[in-house]
């Protein structure tokens, strides 16, 4: 059986950050994921925001990690080549009463040490964001807030970890756990096995089940659903900054988010999910999303909708739960990572590294650790001259497979060679099928390329692994 120093359960944004952090040291690390690809859980379906650091009080662990994590993104962006932009965050007050809450947020932001935060008049708000409702009375501006593509962030983190020696095992759904001497033995549903001296439980929605399997702390993750609409990049009232409403006790509210790639996201709702696999959107909640988004940006129209989706947040208590287990040895719990989990995730990586050190893991830095990933040029980002040069070197860059998002065959082949062998995996890596036609034109071509590159037969082509086969037979 393969022996590791550390096994990380769950390849979402937390697991991926922890894996990359640990890849800096002379350690054997394995990252385990139950799905067919990484980042297919909560990390793929969220708002994709680097928060402004004014929602939570500095006394909470989540605020501390959020503030530390937010500062790490510029360097990560430089090293890991994922779409990221500090476009700034606005909180819009639509009546005078809300200005009192804005003031609270401002004071908290100042206390938290947020750089550049300011209170804004109506005029200043409309200058910063002309698409805002004329009803805006004022608000808050946090220029350091930003946006990123969360799945691309995870893909890059995992690729970087891999390049530095971390093993990744997908379709490894931990079922049985046993303690043998100084080691934990983890057995997966499909029979695979690994053993490790330390284990990190970053299983997201399933962190409670994993903890139970270890005989560790008993707690319960409550899935809370967030539904979103994705809007076409051609929409008329496209904002250039993230727009928040004034928050309530339970939620940060429905946001209007310009994505780095040019589309616009509106959402999320916050409603209890029926179970951990309840990813269904509902008419009522989506109506609410449209209505709430339109209150802030009246130019938003249902004609702009490309698609809808739902993500589940792994809710537990009011703060993050990141700690060494007190009941069993050599287990780190990383649970209840709701918003601002994405923002905090790089800091969570460091925090967990420190916890492991405290628990006795010896950390020796690698002399040859390489923080950079191999950058994949994108046809959509290239000007005509740059694209011409790309095609001269690699003709497949001249074959545009996805017309809506302008993705070339070369990029699809690179996605497949990086291990993304499902339609969804290719979509999140390249954006092919993510635009206005939602795969209507390019799906058959991607199927052809997948079969050619992998040798898979038609019935092995799936949307996202498991029983999600696309084709049911031949003529």
């Amino acid at each position: 059986m393969e022996r590791f120093d550390v096994a990380i359960i769950g390849a979402g944004v937390c697991g991926a950050n922890i894996a990359r952090k640990l890849s800096q040291y002379e350690l054997d690390v394995v990252l385990l994921e139950k799905e067919i690809d990484v980042s297919l859980g909560t990390s793929k379906a969220n708002s994709g925001i680097v928060h402004g650091g004014f929602h939570d009080h500095i006394s909470t662990l989540k605020a501390q990690l959020e503030l530390r994590g937010a500062l790490m993104f510029d360097r990560l962006h430089e090293e890991l080549d994922f779409p990221f932009e500090r476009c700034g965050i606005l909180v819009a007050a639509l009546h005078e009463d809300e200005m009192r809450v804005i003031e609270q947020l401002y004071l908290r932001g100042v206390e938290n040490g947020v750089i550049g935060i300011e209170m804004c008049s109506r005029e200043r708000m409309l200058e910063l964001e002309p698409t805002l409702s004329q009803d805006v009375v004022g608000g808050l501006y946090a220029p350091s807030g930003g946006i990123l593509e969360p799945y691309r962030f995870v893909f890059s983190l995992v690729e970087s970890a891999r390049r530095n020696g971390v093993q990744v095992k997908t379709e490894f759904e931990v079922e049985q756990v046993a303690r043998e001497g100084e080691f934990w033995t983890l057995r997966a549903k499909n029979g695979q096995q690994v053993c490790a001296r330390f284990v990190v439980n970053s299983a997201g929605l399933h962190a409670d089940d994993i903890s139970r399997a270890f005989g560790a702390e008993r707690f319960e993750i409550t899935p809370r659903k967030g539904e979103y609409y994705l809007l076409d990049r051609t929409m008329k009232a496209k904002p250039s900054r993230v727009i928040f409403p004034v928050p309530t006790e339970v939620s940060k509210g429905i946001l209007v988010i310009p994505t780095v790639e040019g589309t616009v996201l509106i959402g999320p709702t916050a409603s209890p999910a029926n179970n951990k696999e309840d990813f269904a959107t509902t008419r009522e909640q989506l109506e609410h999303v449209l209505h709430a988004a339109r209150t802030m940006v009246p130019g938003i129209s249902e004609n702009d909708v490309i698609t809808s989706f739902a993500g589940l947040r792994a809710a537990y208590g009011s703060d993050f739960y990141i700690a060494l287990s007190e009941k069993v040895p050599a287990l780190v719990q990383v649970a209840g990572i709701q918003s601002p989990g994405l923002t905090a995730s790089p800091a969570i990586g460091e925090y967990v590294k420190d916890l492991l050190k405290k628990a006795g893991l010896r950390l020796v830095e690698k002399a040859d650790w390489d923080p950079y990933v191999h950058k994949v040029p994108r046809a959509r980002d290239a000007d005509p001259y740059a694209l011409d040069a790309l095609v001269a070197e690699e003709p497949a860059y001249g074959d545009i497979v996805c017309r809506c998002e302008r993705v070339s065959e070369a990029e699809i082949v690179k996605a497949i060679r990086a291990g993304h062998t499902t339609l969804d995996g290719i979509k999140y890596y390249t954006r092919a099928q993510m635009g206005r036609c939602q795969g209507g034109f390019c799906t058959y071509r991607i199927i052809r390329i997948l079969m050619r590159e992998t040798g898979m037969s038609y019935d092995q082509i799936t949307k996202r692994g498991g029983a999600s086969a696309i084709l049911k037979g031949t003529l």
């Binding site: 694209l387 011409d388 206005r436 036609c437 939602q438 949307k463 999600s468 696309i470 049911k472 031949t474």
Partner: protein
């Protein structure tokens, strides 16, 4: 970067693009056709059923046969066509049009042209556009994608099928899937009348015993990995009857819920679009708001029959040729939609020439009149036994009827 120069560039090598290119060539212009796919023909190549060409050729052809006739005309004339070529950008540069495009064989090319004909066709609306809630499993296809998978790639996308929307491609696919041995359980249409042609309702649904649920909405999709079923809710007097909702089990959904002209290129070029058609505004020459750029076929407005597409495309090609040789209309008058008409294209007529107008109505009615008026005066009244939104209406107007037109005259067409 490779540089080329032509009198005219035609963007899109489907029926419209080929017909326009032939017309431009025959009037003495050098023409280049740019086509994304590996062959000319466009979407016709996957339409292996018959029913094409009844007006154009006076015979019943399949899609590839119809396209083949035009492809032969293109090849006989030696008209240049660049295949596997995607247009990146259309710009005005130094008084000429510059079309930037890319293909694996040539790299990026900059093609300078004095005139451009837009013939990019249309795309299918999808689940997001009609906002059906529920899960997002495998097994949801647009009807056109399913048609491609079956007719060209040779795969069966699913066994138990429900078709959402009664557009023509969906109806054709109901029959195609039945022939392939699949069970088509139902066609669900939100409107109280079908969206497709009557002949397709008869030949594709009635002949196969496939039920058509009019005034019904798909209100949920079930299934985690693969579609397992849908919830269907009847609509009565405009309201959803939730207590009468029912479930249909199926593993596949095909969406045939409308087509949208594919105008991202035009929009980026700064060409103004008509919100009623999602195609460019065009004048009596089918010229867009960008001088020297013409539009025809489904990129201009979605047609019901390809025969009308090629008629319009020939006109666009001939007009582009005339424009290249310096012709400009002396005067044009505005066209306005009257009661019960959704749109009329083109938006202007030339009172000194023959004008062909295509339009769609907003209502299903029997025994009505299409009334053409100018400045309140009825020019013509055409009896129609039956009209419906899925079937295009057409009117031809010549100088003899439009002779009275003044500078500020407005032409109006109404259904009364």
């Amino acid at each position: 970067m490779k540089q080329l120069s032509y009198d005219a560039v035609v963007i899109g090598g489907g029926a419209a693009g080929m017909a326009a290119a032939v017309e431009l060539h025959d009037r003495g212009n050098s023409v280049l056709v740019l086509e994304r796919e590996e062959s000319l023909g466009g979407i016709l190549m996957q339409c292996i059923h018959n029913g094409f060409g009844l007006i154009e050729f006076n015979e019943e052809l399949s899609g590839p046969e119809f396209a083949g006739r035009f492809e032969t005309m293109v090849k006989e004339r030696g008209i240049h066509a660049s295949l596997r070529t995607t247009v990146l950008d259309l710009r005005e540069e130094d008084g000429a049009k510059a079309v930037y495009c890319v293909s694996p064989a040539t790299g990026v090319m900059r093609i300078e042209a004095r005139a451009v004909v837009l013939a990019m066709g249309c795309r299918e609306r999808n689940r997001g556009n009609i906002r059906i809630p529920g899960t997002r499993p495998a097994g949801i296809f647009t009807a056109g994608l399913a048609q491609r998978l079956v007719n060209i790639e040779g795969y069966i996308p699913g066994r138990d099928v429900v078709i959402i929307g009664s557009g023509d491609i969906g109806l054709i696919m109901a029959r195609r899937m039945s022939w392939a041995g699949c069970k088509v359980h139902a066609v669900i249409e939100i409107l109280p009348y079908p969206s497709g042609l009557t002949r397709n309702i008869v030949q594709c649904l009635h002949d196969f015993g496939i039920p058509l649920y009019l005034s019904h909405l798909v209100t949920n999709i079930y299934g985690k990995d693969r579609v397992e079923g849908i919830e269907v809710t009847p609509i009565e007097n405009g309201a959803l009857m939730h207590e009468k909702a029912f479930r249909i089990d199926c593993d596949t959904l095909l969406l045939s819920v409308g087509l949208v002209p594919e105008n991202e290129l035009s929009r980026n070029a700064g060409i103004e679009l008509n919100p009623a058609t999602n195609g460019p505004w065009v004048d009596s020459m089918l010229q867009t708001t960008m001088p020297g750029v013409f539009a025809c076929g489904n990129v201009l407005h979605v047609h019901d029959l390809v025969d009308y597409v090629v008629e319009e495309a020939r006109r666009a090609g001939a007009n582009a040729a005339a424009w290249l040789s310096g012709y400009r209309p002396a005067r044009e008058i505005r066209v306005r939609t009257g009661s019960n008409i959704r749109y009329i294209t083109p938006g202007r007529v030339n009172p000194d020439r023959q004008n062909q107008l295509y339009m769609r109505c907003l209502v299903v009615r029997n025994d009505v009149r299409l009334e053409v008026r100018m400045d309140g005066k009825v020019l013509r009244s055409i009896r129609k036994a039956h009209v419906q939104p899925s079937e295009m209406l057409s009117v031809t107007l010549g100088p003899e009827e439009l002779a009275q037109a003044g500078r500020d005259s407005v032409l109006e067409i109404a259904l009364v």
